[in-house]
């Protein structure tokens, strides 16, 4: 059975069971590395992507729920050659250790900043609550998102 998904602006035809969680389709069928498998339970946020304007756990979201939605992954924010403002902020703050949680953090932050471009540090901390980091990069992640707030305001 095939399903139509719109991912990063591209229409994709996916031949997978309709209850397949989006995460596996993104990573395997569409070869997008941004969203990560962390728990498969919606507990850690490593798989976070944006559907329309909402951050979702792609590991517990079956693709059948996403027809007609605009899905965005980390790859939509920019490229290594032309990083987007949030990506550049994470580079500038060196906000990664192992980096495995970072794409999920960034997508949740991106959804926050689209909704609230002037997010404060307190708001950023609250917004990122669902996402776990084990390396202890939290201070840098917060700083990077704040830096992106400034960068986007100046842009």
């Amino acid at each position: 059975m095939s399903i139509q998904l719109n991912v990063n602006g591209q229409d994709e035809t996916i031949d997978s069971a309709t209850d397949t969680p989006l995460l596996y389709v993104l990573r395997n069928d569409l070869r997008l590395n941004g969203a990560k498998f962390g728990c498969g339970l919606g507990q850690c946020g490593a798989c976070t992507v944006i559907a329309d304007d909402q951050p979702i756990f792609s590991c517990v979201t079956p693709i059948m729920m996403l027809e007609g939605r605009k899905i965005r992954t980390l790859e939509s924010l920019g490229t290594e050659e032309h990083p987007g403002p949030l990506q550049q902020a994470f580079i500038d703050e060196q906000a990664a250790q192992c980096g495995y949680c970072i794409p999920g953090m960034m997508m949740r932050a991106q959804a926050l900043l689209e909704r609230n471009p002037k997010a404060t540090e307190a708001e950023i901390r609250v917004a990122l609550e669902p996402n776990l980091c084990r390396c202890g990069t939290h201070m840098r992640i917060i700083r990077a998102v704040l830096r992106a707030v400034d960068a986007m305001a100046g842009a």
Binding site: A17, N28, C39, C44, Q97, E129, T137
Partner: protein
């Protein structure tokens, strides 16, 4: 496949002999077909003539071309046997090489741990990557540079002292020669010398700078970075079905109906080992779930009583060893302090469960991409498990989610090998599930310590008696029984007994010798626990975390007995001026002297030199206690670290900040739970860790410059001192000492209610 990291279709010896240029595109399938007999490089490294004659790991592989290769096109390749674990070691090693070779670090190709291509540097562990590999690469690079200068001097007929290396060329006046032009054949195939002409710190242009991590742009844009990101054509997806508990054996499983499920390629049943291989990842997961539900196991209650873990641990058979003994009796003791401390089993808790990619080639070589900390020991163990020669297993390191020690990376590699064997020629990516990672990883073991100490009339420590009950904190491969699945095969490889050994670096006893202080008397005993009731191995800093929690909590109490400020108490008894310096700097950064008590707030201090020979770190913290609920929040932390010569200050800072936060999570929140049969901490609900709600307001890390000093590493220095500093701050805030990790809100609240209010 552009996703597979670096070209490897040539052997290292071919490369070194100058016969091969790097081939940019590389396919795992192609490689497997074309794989030649692996070269001598996979054989155990030759024993060094004199173990300490050469700098760092040049001792285990003294040939310069084992570390640095330069091809005719001037491409410099650096080899390290260490692995990028998210600690930034790739960037730091590039800086070492670039500084001494006088080239742009971003032009260097770096080959990390690989059993065909890299030197055998054992494990990437113990904060030793910079002191061992960084030192080796730096010295090798300096010696290569001098070799090139000498060769250029001959070719140019110039005085070598007039020649300089810059930008990949040896330059002398108007003349210059590229490195590539100078390297032919075996130019670099020479033994390293004991001393090198190292660039002085004052002349650094690359080392000592915060060169941005080379891998972060890829991480934040979705480049292929992790084993999990590999997906060669035709790749299959593997999932294991573990027993429900350590000692369970498989009674029955309906493999036949699982094999008929959509996409399922193979179901493996080998003794109590069960696995499924499927075309699509979701199909593999569905098959795994279904198989798990159909499987019948015989289980037995074999776990200790979690509610009385310290007693259970102390009741196990032990072998005693003396870690330190001044052979003196305490004199002049006027006040004593006596306490027992306990620690539960704690998890590595990688955010990404372990993963590996394996493929059995037609030449009989199993190639495994793994995020193990030790490709060489892992390939030896896997070869034994498979019953093949070591040359038939090729392990290549690729990043995974942060591991913080021996997690299940090696186990995933072993599963990839077993599954690859079941579908010859096909690449199989094995991904553990969250519950499997939580339930089966080898934990940092539960520990009990006991301290008796005393101060004399001068307010100095006069007595130091310390005992610890602990496992080895090590069950890594080599032996095949270290691999989880190997134990459950029809012909199982039982786990080897732990090895009890007391070494200067220490393991379970790490940092238990109180060398940080000048003491008139000390006596330290390790009651080595032989049995391993829960799977245990190396978790970042090993025993140092809990030994330092116990010791530095005790030092705080002795300062109290002496009536001396805890910073002054440590400062006046610090054994080493570098130790004293980090103590002073941390106190100053915190403004220890200017701090005024606030209700509900407390401050704490701790200090250690990691492993007694690596980085010095002191930390001051401020915490807030909610005296209604007992909740503790770390408000701020100010650390000072001396990790020797600084290669990348931002990297040191990043590692230290991370160590502080991770240690805080261990200290305040974490304990593996279990019933008498099964592990019950199987996800983030049942094993909670730090979230943003618990993140402090600020962390400051002050780095002590040490020009010209050896690298000391930075990865684990913060773990122990942070835990004690937090405990000391809680003691300061509530007037009660807590001894049993984790220091949860419930325990703090109970402590608050156990004494008359202090305000």
């Amino acid at each position: 496949m552009d996703e597979l990291r670096e070209p490897r279709a040539i052997t290292r010896r071919q490369l070194l002999a100058g016969t091969g240029a790097f081939i940019v595109s590389f396919s795992l399938l192609g490689m497997a077909r074309g794989q030649e007999t692996p070269p001598a490089a996979v054989m155990p490294a030759p024993a060094p003539a004199s173990p300490s004659a050469l700098p760092g790991d040049l001792n285990i592989d003294p040939m310069l071309d084992s570390w640095i290769a330069i091809d005719a096109d001037n491409q410099v390749t650096v080899f390290t046997g260490k692995a990028e674990l998210g600690q930034g070691v790739k960037t730091a090693i590039l800086q070492c090489a670039a500084e001494e070779l006088k080239i742009d670090p971003l032009t260097i190709k770096l080959i990390t741990a690989d059993t065909v291509l890299s030197p055998n540097e054992g494990y990437t562990a113990g904060s030793m990557s910079m002191s061992m590999s960084g030192t080796a690469v730096r010295n090798a690079a300096a010696q290569v540079r001098e070799l090139l200068i000498a060769k250029a001097a001959t070719q140019l007929k110039a005085d070598p002292t007039t020649l300089t290396a810059q930008g990949g060329q040896i330059v002398g006046g108007p003349q210059s020669l590229t490195y590539g032009a100078l390297v032919t054949g075996e130019t670099l195939h020479v033994n390293a010398q004991p001393t090198s002409k190292l660039t002085p710190t004052a002349d650094f242009t690359v080392m000592g700078t915060s060169l941005p991590r080379v891998d972060i742009p890829g991480i934040v844009t979705g480049a292929v970075t992790y084993v999990q990101d590999l997906r060669p054509d035709g790749m299959l997806h593997g999932r294991v079905v573990r027993p429900p508990s350590y000692t369970a054996t498989l009674a029955d499983a309906d493999t036949a109906s699982i094999e008929k499920m959509p996409g399922v390629v193979k179901v493996i049943r080998d003794g109590s080992y069960l696995a499924v291989i499927a075309q699509q990842e979701w199909q593999a997961i569905v098959a795994m779930r279904t198989l798990a539900r159909s499987a019948k196991w015989k289980e037995q209650a074999s776990l200790p009583d979690e509610a009385h873990l310290p007693e259970a641990l102390k009741a196990l058979a032990v072998e005693d060893g003396t870690v330190a003994d001044s052979n003196t009796t305490p004199t002049g003791v006027v006040q004593t302090f006596d306490a027992s401390y306990t620690r539960p089993y704690q998890m590595h808790g990688s955010i990404g469960p372990s993963c590996a990619l394996g493929q059995l080639g037609s030449d009989g070589v199993t190639t495994i991409y793994t995020h193990t900390q030790g490709v060489y020991p892992d390939h030896a163990a896997i070869a034994q498990m498979l019953g093949v020669d070591q040359t038939k297993v090729h392990c290549i390191h690729m990043q995974g989610s942060g591991c913080y020690g021996h997690n299940q990376a090696d186990d995933a590699a072993a599963d990839a090998a077993l599954m690859a064997r079941a579908v010859p020629g096909k690449p199989v990516r094995v991904q553990f599930m969250r519950e499997q990672e939580h339930a089966w990883e080898p934990y940092g073991p539960g520990m009990v310590t006991h301290f008796t100490g005393g101060v004399d009339a001068n307010g100095k420590i006069a007595q130091w008696d310390y005992e610890l009950w602990s496992n080895s904190h090590n069950s890594r491969p080599g032996p095949p029984g270290a691999l989880l699945s190997a134990r459950y095969l029809a012909t199982p490889f039982p786990q080897d007994p732990q090895v009890f050994s007391i070494t200067p670096t220490g393991s379970g006893d790490r940092n238990s010798d109180p060398l940080g202080y000048s003491l008139p008397q000390k006596h330290v005993i390790w009651h080595f626990i032989k049995d391993q009731p829960l799977r245990q191995s190396a978790l970042r800093s090993l025993g140092a975390f809990f030994n330092l929690f116990s010791m530095e909590s005790s030092v705080d109490e002795m300062a109290r007995l002496a009536g001396v400020d805890p910073v002054d108490f440590r400062l006046t008894q610090a054994a080493d001026p570098r130790g004293a310096e980090v103590i002073r700097r941390a106190a100053s950064s915190f403004d220890w002297a200017g701090w005024t008590p606030v209700p509900g707030r407390g401050r704490g201090f701790a200090f250690a030199r990691y492993e007694n020979h690596a980085s010095y770190l002191a930390i001051a913290v401020e915490i807030a206690v909610n005296t209604d609920t007992g909740t503790v929040r770390l408000v701020r932390a100010n650390a000072a670290i001396d990790s020797g010569e600084i290669v990348n200050p931002n990297g040191i800072r990043n590692q230290t900040e991370g160590g502080i936060l991770q240690s805080m999570s261990w200290t305040l929140y974490e304990a593996v739970t279990f019933d008498r049969t099964r592990i019950t901490s199987i996800d983030w609900q049942t094993y909670p860790i730090l979230r943003f709600g618990g993140v402090p307001d600020s962390i400051e890390v002050d780095i002590v410059p040490q020009p010209g000093q050896p690298f000391l590493g930075a990865g684990e220095a913060a773990q122990g001192p942070t835990s004690a500093a937090i405990a000391n701050a809680i003691r300061d805030a509530i007037g009660v000492r807590l001894y049993d990790l984790p220091l949860t809100a419930d325990k703090v609240k109970a402590a608050l209610l156990s004494v008359p209010a202090v305000d």
